[in-house]
Symmetry: none
Subunit: 221 residues, 2 copies
DNA sequence: AGGTGAATGTAATGTTTATGTAAGGTGCTA
DNA sequence: TAGCACCTTACATAAACATTACATTCACCT
């Protein structure tokens, strides 16, 4: 689980509120302005973005527009002190996924985050640079298509779904190849080997760890 | 355009408000209770559902849960008089896509509807030069009639309806040929091949992508 | 330490399967 | 009976997958 959220907020009080509220629930990164945010955003995409409308360098709408130019799917939640409806309409029309007015309740904020991530994850899941797109049966690392075959796709998807947990060889077999677990064969190893090659080609590190005698584990640094 | 919205609302005042607000913008159907709603919902699904929490027969949460059992994608917007945050959290946790408290502003309501439909449509529409005319059973690319046969029409329509999403061979069979999925036959491939020919003849690109082992996908670049 | 065997890595090769498509057949409709 | 839509057959092809064979690594034993 442990989704990654980027928060663009300059108000010190709110920054602390966010940090407290998300402690242990979501992994967060805070940015004071649009410039810092985009610097990081280009490197690694989060699962959701919380955007304050009033910021020192560029206003939230500008940031939102720029985000939508490169990613029309990522959930963006707008936060604003202006509780008038004009702000809400403007933000939503520009492609925000949700809007919440200050002062807001932490409970509702979390519920809204949950909903927006749930919705986005129906189609696409991501895990530290790896993005699984179930619509097109592809997995990307930092935007690059790994070019996986069906078996490879299922295998890596399975491993990523259990990030940090070792998955037994037999379980992998059952899930990827079907019920018929065919005794002794090296097929699984070969596919893992292929996967590693393809991940390396796309600049990924040693994310598939061998657990001798047990199986394999996906490890995001 | 002209999206279809189902509204479940028993309060007469609000019913009139909705009808006025959506006049000419969206096509609407109003239901007084959950039973009527489901009767219609089973026959034809709308683009979005507006759900009042307080209803005579079953409450909105029950309806929401039942909707989510059969369709986890359709956007559901909850409306409630209870402006306390507990309602919002409850609704969103049960799988609502959005929440709006009475009394609400019509402007914001429409903005939220727009956002929710936009989001849902990200994965469903966007035809890129392809126009489907259901009245005459024809599909045009950049104004040119592709000259499709009925099966080809249904097939391409189905693929376009799921733009960006891979549709499984079996699903295509069920939808285009009917329930009788006839084991092993090459008919589907031949029709796809025909479709590709006709699209190419009319200047269309490689819009039908093969997903080996799964099915086909319509892709608008 | 160093040796040993089992488990795993992987290159190369062989096999299977899914799909593309041409050509011709069948049966309906006008 | 001509024309059309649709299906089947048949073969070609390429991708995916499995197997073999040998190399390497690691855990464990002495």
């Amino acid at each position: 689980m442990e989704e990654l959220i980027y928060i663009v907020e300059d108000d010190e009080g709110l920054r602390e509120l966010y940090e407290g509220a998300f402690e242990g629930v979501y992994k967060t990164m805070l940015f004071e302005n649009g410039k810092d945010f985009f610097c990081q955003f280009e490197k690694n995409r989060p699962d959701l973005i919380i955007l304050d409308i009033m910021l020192p360098d560029m206003d939230g709408y500008t940031i939102l527009t720029k985000i939508r130019e490169v990613d029309e799917k990522i959930p963006v939640l707008i936060v604003s002190a202006k509780s008038d409806e004009i702000s809400a309409v403007k933000g939503l029309n520009k492609g925000a996924d949700d809007y919440i007015a200050k002062p807001f309740s932490v409970l509702e904020l979390i519920a809204r985050i949950k909903t927006n991530i749930r919705r986005a994850n129906l189609y696409v899941k991501s895990q530290r640079g790896f993005v699984i797109d179930n619509n097109v049966y592809k997995i990307f690392f930092e935007g690059r298509d790994l070019g996986l075959t069906l078996k490879e796709f299922k295998l890596l998807k399975m491993l990523i779904a259990h990030t940090g947990v070792t998955v037994e060889r037999e379980e992998l077999f059952r899930e990827v190849w079907g019920e018929s677990f065919m005794g002794e064969t090296r097929t699984l190893d070969i596919h893992i080997s292929q996967l590693r090659d393809k991940i390396t080609e796309c600049g990924g590190g040693d994310v598939i760890v061998t657990v001798r005698g047990i199986g394999y584990r996906f490890e995001a640094q």
